[in-house]
């Protein structure tokens, strides 16, 4: 196939695809060669007298019944594999997925959270999907499956990863400006390695609280901490710098102090940094979280 087949679902989908493609290529070949053959065989240059055949009940029945049977076969192939892909086994590990503009958050049963998905090889995993804002769709091409993430609703999918490796995760339901940047990876790990990672105490000891908030709230979907430009301005060196903003359409230069940073989170549309779109959503944050964010940004020199 075109891309790795890294899960049980991928194998099912690809074998269905191959069977259907074979039927279709034959059909297309018949139709096309009949056209070409007739155009050559009955060309006006051959000066044959045309025959006015009005139709044939027999043929109409033939080319209604045979295609009907063929499409029923295709439908059945699709249904059968779909049924397997959708029927969740009893023993599964459950991982929650929250999609938001424009990043992914994965939450494990033991409370671990991350922006990259890690799954054990050979073990069925069920993903419970939802969205914090608009529609998104969770897609892993190497597993051949996707399902939409709908706000205030839970959808699901499941798979058993079969090949160790790192594969793309894409968002395939248009969700606004950063849609094409809403990427992540799924890392398929041998069961032992996964267990070690899963059991390891939360890395949060090493991470400043502010950074964790940025990850959880999805701020890093648009802002970076390393100086590169994404959808929003980077956080690196922001604290204390001079920023040109548009306030009610008027340009002014202000210093990015604590007050400015807090306002930018609680009322994102108030001062818009010049050269960036006014699209940041209002995120629910507590005062304590705000303090921690500011504290963290201060350290990003």
């Amino acid at each position: 196939m075109f891309i790795p087949e890294a899960s049980n679902s991928a194998l099912k989908v690809d074998s269905t695809f191959t069977s259907i493609l074979i039927i279709e290529v034959i059909l297309l070949a018949i139709v096309t060669s009949a056209m070409v053959f007739f155009v050559v065989r009955y060309n006006i240059r051959r000066k044959q007298k045309p025959e006015n055949i009005e139709g044939s009940m027999f043929l109409e029945i033939v080319w209604t019944v045979i295609p009907t049977l063929l499409v029923l076969v295709m439908f059945y192939l699709g249904w059968k594999s779909f049924d397997i892909i959708r029927r969740v086994p009893k023993e599964v590990m459950t991982i929650g997925v929250t999609a938001r503009q424009w990043s992914w958050l994965f939450s494990y049963e033991n409370g671990k959270q991350s922006n990259v998905l890690r799954v054990p090889m050979g073990q069925p995993v069920k993903m419970l999907l939802t969205s914090a804002d608009v529609l998104h769709s969770f897609y892993i091409p190497a597993f051949r499956i996707k399902e939409d993430c709908v706000p205030r609703m839970q959808t699901y999918m499941w798979f058993t990863a079969e090949e160790e490796g790192t594969y793309d995760i894409f968002c395939t339901e248009y969700c606004g400006l950063g849609h094409s940047g809403m990427l992540s990876k799924v890392i398929v790990m041998p069961e032992k390695e996964f267990a070690a990672w899963y059991g390891r105490a939360e890395e949060k000891v090493e991470k400043p609280a502010g950074q964790k908030i940025l990850e959880e709230k999805g701020c890093l979907g648009c802002h970076t901490t390393d100086g590169t430009r994404k959808i929003g301005p980077t956080f690196k060196g922001l604290y204390g710098s001079k920023v040109t903003v548009l306030t009610n359409g008027k340009e002014r230069v202000i210093t990015a102090d604590e007050k400015y940073i807090k306002r930018s989170v609680t009322d994102p549309g108030a001062d818009i940094v010049k050269g960036y779109p006014n699209i940041m959503p209002k995120l629910p944050v507590t005062n304590e979280e705000l303090e921690q964010i500011v504290e963290y940004l201060e350290t990003l020199k």
């Binding site: 695809f17 259907i20 056209m35 155009v39 295609p67 529609l135 769709s137 897609y139 959808i231």
Partner: protein, 537 residues
């Protein structure tokens, strides 16, 4: 066909020279003559088509090197406006409003449509709708950026100028409803004496089936879009989940119209190629009734399959299975048509001129479209391919390769009748070849991109997709060159083309019994019909 040959010989003034109440431009924009309205629609529709093509090419240019020429925000607006224009301003009104308006009354032996003034009003609604859509690009919070599907809740939350664009689309919807109403009434009331339903040319049948779909499905779209406007203005809570609304309800309501709309696009194109096959094979059509009834059954079953756009939406699995089954069933009447067209070539005497070449290409491209449609109609494969470039490839093959090429076939077929001039056949063939090659390079690559997992509506992409994106973009340039050649040929021939005879192709339907271009009233004396439309000896 009994025709007043003498009257036709005298060649009364054509509708271009008609003396009306108004002079100059007003003799057009206030004309209620179906042929003038048809020509005005044609000019407007092809203009919008060209704008849409330019936007498409800009998108392709971005995809060679994302961000270098075009920003993310602009790209998102480009595919939105491109989609809105190509769907609502080009392909939906496309054939019925232009060629249908011009030829339907002639083909059934009538002097005009049933409601000429509503016909004019539909054109005005179309122009107003088009103007509003264009206006929405430059005003308010910036060009709409939702995709042509306007999915909630994003379309409710975005600050872009969505409401205005939706008002434009609602106008376009009404224009389409007016045309539908007019055609249904015309076909029921204005057929010439002896022109029974089963003596009508099959293009009329396809317009008839289309018209019912326009009248019955389009109001749903108008209501749905109106709800989005209300939701944006007053936060009512139809579709916005934070207000208790349901975004999946929006998807249902949107596709209840927009799937049948696919048949509004394709049926008239099928009608056109059905006219062309017998004329260029010099024999009667194979399976008249099978083709007529398959049009009706496509239009009918087209209502029941909208859910195949929502296989991954979170809709129940049972619903997914049922929608998939019905989707597969619609393929059958479509197949029946293809087989009857090909059988019409059997034992004919085939003259391979550009209208037939475009019709054969239509069958080829539309077969690929339909077969790729079966792939994504397959439940398990949909989970893989939904929302990827496979879909983009599929719908361009359907709408452009199918409906678009059918339209081009019709333009070549009826150009002599509409303008009174012949185009250059050799140039037409070269243009066809260029378009055909460019088209397949541009869009077939998209199937491969989709199989590789490339999502649609992506401004930028992972490096593994780069090569195919570049190939696809090169295809778009070849296609553009072909289109310029085709339209150039048409425009040049308006002035330089040879005078067209009354019946350049040896057709048997009524339009070929009156002068090219036709007189204002079409028929000096309404013909009396005594047999079916494709009577070759």
């Amino acid at each position: 066909m009994v025709m007043d040959n003498e009257a036709a010989m005298k060649a009364p003034v054509s509708f271009y020279g008609e003396e009306g109440r108004f002079k100059g431009i007003f003799s057009w924009i206030f004309s209620t003559n179906h042929k003038r309205i048809g020509i005005m629609y044609l000019v407007a529709i092809l203009t919008f088509f060209s704008i849409g093509v330019i936007l498409g090419i800009l998108m392709r240019i971005n995809l060679i090197s994302p961000g270098k020429f075009i920003s993310e925000r602009t790209y998102n607006s480009l595919f939105t406006i491109h989609g809105v224009i190509q769907i609502f301003l080009f392909i939906i009104p496309g054939i019925p409003a232009s060629l249908g308006n011009f030829f339907l009354p002639i083909l059934i032996g009538s002097r005009d449509v049933a409601f000429p003034r509503i016909n004019l009003m539909s054109w005005w609604f179309y122009m107003i709708g088009g103007a509003i859509v264009i206006l929405s690009i430059f005003t308010g919070g910036g060009a709409p950026d939702t995709g042509w599907t306007f999915y909630a809740p994003y379309s409710i939350r975005t600050t872009a100028n969505v409401s205005l664009a939706l008002v434009g689309v609602i106008f376009l919807g009404f224009s389409s409803i007016f045309t539908g109403l007019n055609f249904i009434t015309t076909i029921h009331r204005l057929r010439a004496p002896g022109m029974t339903f089963f003596r009508m040319p099959l293009f009329c049948w396809s317009l008839y089936a289309t018209a019912w779909t326009q009248v019955l499905a389009t109001p749903v779209l108008a209501i749905t879009l109106l709800l989005i406007i209300l939701e944006r203005a007053f936060a009512i809570g139809f579709f916005e989940p934070t207000l208790g609304g349901d975004p999946i309800l929006y998807e249902h309501m949107f596709w209840i119209y927009s799937h049948p709309a696919v048949y509004i696009m394709i049926l008239p194109a099928m009608g056109i190629v059905t006219e062309i096959f017998p004329v260029f094979a010099k024999r009667t059509i194979f399976g008249y009734k099978a083709i007529a009834f398959s049009s009706l059954s496509i239009a009918f079953f087209g209502y029941l399959v909208w859910g195949h756009h929502m296989f991954t939406s979170g809709m129940s699995d049972t619903a997914r299975v049922i929608f998939s089954l019905i989707t597969f069933m619609v393929a059958v009447p479509t197949g029946v048509k293809v087989f009857n067209w090909i059988a019409t070539l059997y034992k004919g005497s085939i003259q391979l001129d550009s209208p037939l070449i475009y019709s054969l290409t239509f069958i080829f491209l539309f077969s690929i479209a339909g077969l790729s449609g079966l792939i994504i109609g397959t439940l398990s494969l949909n989970l893989y391919l939904h929302g990827t470039y496979f879909i983009v490839g599929h719908f361009h093959y359907t709408m452009f390769g199918g409906a678009g090429f059918g339209f081009f076939a019709g333009l070549h077929y009826w150009y002599p009748k509409m303008t009174g001039r012949m185009y250059n056949e050799k140039t037409a063939k070269i243009a066809w070849l260029t378009i055909f090659i460019g088209f397949n390079i541009l869009y077939f690559t998209m199937f491969i991109l989709g199989l590789e997992g490339m999502p649609r509506r992506y401004f930028q992409y992972q490096p593994q997709f780069r090569t195919n994106h570049i190939i696809s973009t090169v295809g778009s340039w070849i296609l553009a060159a072909g289109l310029i050649l085709m339209f150039g040929n048409f425009i040049r021939s308006l002035f330089r083309g040879e005078k067209a005879p009354m019946n350049p192709w040896g057709g048997k339907t009524l339009e070929w019994t009156i002068p090219s271009p036709p007189p204002a009233e079409n028929f000096e004396k309404i013909p009396v019909i005594e047999h079916g439309p494709y009577k070759y000896e």
